[in-house]
Amino acid sequence: MSDLRELYQQVIMDHNKRPRNFREIEHANHLAHGNNPLCGDKLVVYVKLNGEVIEDVSFKGSGCAISMASASLMTEAVKGKTIEEAQAIYEQVHKSMTGEETDRNLLGKLEVLSGVKEFPARVKCATLSWHTVHAAIDSDHDISISTE
């Protein structure tokens, strides 16, 4: 059970119960739907870009604790960052989930997500919102992505 406690630690449980930036952005200029058909996680990520800067980011949807907490943490981490900075953060998150060396300064409290590396079947849950925000920024129109 020790790995499990590591995965479902306080930060994850807290963000799952009280997700941050869980709302629509009325004047979002970028939006994407993310879908994990394997377990039925579904979310929408809203982004308001101001030039290269992510002025506001939010999400709505439903899913497992890992996907919800990851989405909540994602919005906190990339809000106010440039597209390039957000990309660099995601690369660190992805490395932490696959057990690679990471830059702890850049990762910050996102390190809690590294717990999924012991649970390969759950990595998709943790990466869904990150793929979705990436798709939203990259596309000018409403886009749907799937982790399968």
Binding site: Y8, C39, G63
Partner: protein, 407 residues
């Protein structure tokens, strides 16, 4: 209670005796696939060690032995389903391929735009998608028998749904997502009264109950071996001989022909007409061994033990606060879909796995059922006769530990 000696039975299943994450394995994902007894594994292994050759071809001894074993299994499947003749048993990759075969070879040639195919809301994707493909190909329409909150078919308007445009009724005998046992015999009777042929998807039925296709009076019956203790990649189609005879082949190739020239090919007789190419010989032999094993245990004993497990597990889960069973039909196979309040089923699956308890979480290839209940997924525990009462207790403990973690 059943008459089975569970410890003796469990000794037949080597895979059950292992630890997962430091806990004894509790395998409750039997509706996804069952485990295989030593007798089945040894039959497959014996074939490859001693008898392997291609069938229906060589004059040499090995080919004769392989052919005899293969055809003996067909005889067992015939007896298992109480079909009339070995010619009515076609080996397929599984229930899915058998449904596709019937859709393309039997239904498609007689289908016109605006004809109707009748299925139900409870179906597995395997009994939905082949018909949707057929509708796209022909302009026919898919009609769906609705379901009730308890997870049973709502047959209030069933009679009106059987129209002169209905070209087939395709219905699951047991719901894989909820365990509901459907009244397929009376439904078949009503369809036949209007001359509508009936296919029954028995993938979730054959592991748990005696099936008699003559008593059911269905036209087609399909099942997969891997859910009834046989290897993966093998299953069977039962079809009434006169219907199979009139149908064109599904696939062309070796073994399904009598003679081939570039001008004209004459197809083989039943059942070879529908078994193009070298088949899954070891799978067929494994399926025969699985049927022998089920007969040895006794299908009534299997049903009794599973019903016992279903009753105690249902009672114990119902006694837990914050846990809801999805699918409460009066007639059920040993499948319990459930939700733990405040915990997503996918988290449930991971937490259970950490305690050695293997269940399925997800939509169970029955997304319309999930949509009916407006849920993304359920956790599903499904029992086989080799499961014990102690394993029901392990399930209950896993639920309680999950609730503690998410408290």
């Amino acid at each position: 209670m059943s008459n089975l000696n569970i410890n003796a039975i469990r000794a037949d299943f080597p895979i059950l005796h292992q630890e997962i994450n430091g806990f004894p394995l509790v395998y409750l994902d039997n509706a996804a696939t069952s485990q295989k007894p030593r007798q089945v594994i040894e039959a497959v292994s014996h074939y490859y060690l001693h008898d392997n050759a291609n069938i229906h071809r060589g004059v040499h001894k090995l080919s004769q032995r392989a052919t005899d074993l293969y055809e003996a299994s067909r005889g067992k499947v015939r007896e298992f389903l109480n079909a009339n003749s070995d010619k009515e048993i076609i080996f397929t990759r599984g229930a899915t391929e058998a449904i596709n075969l019937v859709a393309q070879s039997y239904v498609r040639p007689k289908l016109q735009a605006n004809d109707e195919i009748l299925i139900s809301h409870l179906e597995h994707h395997a009994n939905i998608v082949p018909w949707q493909i057929l509708c796209e190909q022909t302009g026919a329409k898919l009609k769906v028998i609705p379901m009730t909150q308890s997870g049973e078919l709502d047959l209030t308007h069933f009679d009106e749904m059987l129209t002169d445009r209905t070209k087939i009724l395709a219905i699951g005998q047991v719901s894989n997502a909820l365990g509901t046992i459907n009244p397929v015999k009376s439904m078949t009777e009503k369809a036949h009264a209007k001359n509508i042929p009936v296919l029954i998807d028995g993938a979730q039925a054959v592991p748990h109950m005696t099936v008699d296709v003559q008593d059911l009076d269905c036209d087609f019956y399909v099942f997969s071996g891997h859910k009834m203790f046989a290897p993966t990649g093998i299953g069977a189609l039962y079809g009434r001989e006169d219907l199979l005879n009139a149908m064109p082949p599904y696939q062309g190739g070796g073994d399904m022909i009598l003679s081939v020239s570039f001008e004209k090919t004459i197809y083989n007789e039943l059942p070879a007409k529908f078994e193009a190419g070298t088949p899954n010989i070891s799978g067929v032999i494994g399926l025969g061994a699985a049927i022998d094993y089920m007969w040895q245990i006794g299908i009534e004993n299997i049903a009794a033990q599973e019903h016992h497990l279903l009753e105690i597990a249902t009672r114990k889960i119902e006694a837990l606060p914050g846990v809801n069973i999805i699918g409460t039909a009066a007639e059920k196979a040993a499948v319990i879909s459930f939700m733990i309040e405040g915990v997503h089923p996918h988290d449930v699956g991971t937490i259970f796995d950490q305690q050695g308890v293997a269940i399925r979480t997800g939509h169970h290839c029955a997304q319309p059922v999930m949509e009916f209940y407006d849920i993304p997924a359920t956790a599903r525990a499904s029992f086989a006769f080799y499961n014990s009462e102690e394993e029901v207790d392990a399930l209950i403990q896993a639920i309680q530990k999950t609730q503690e973690l998410f408290a």
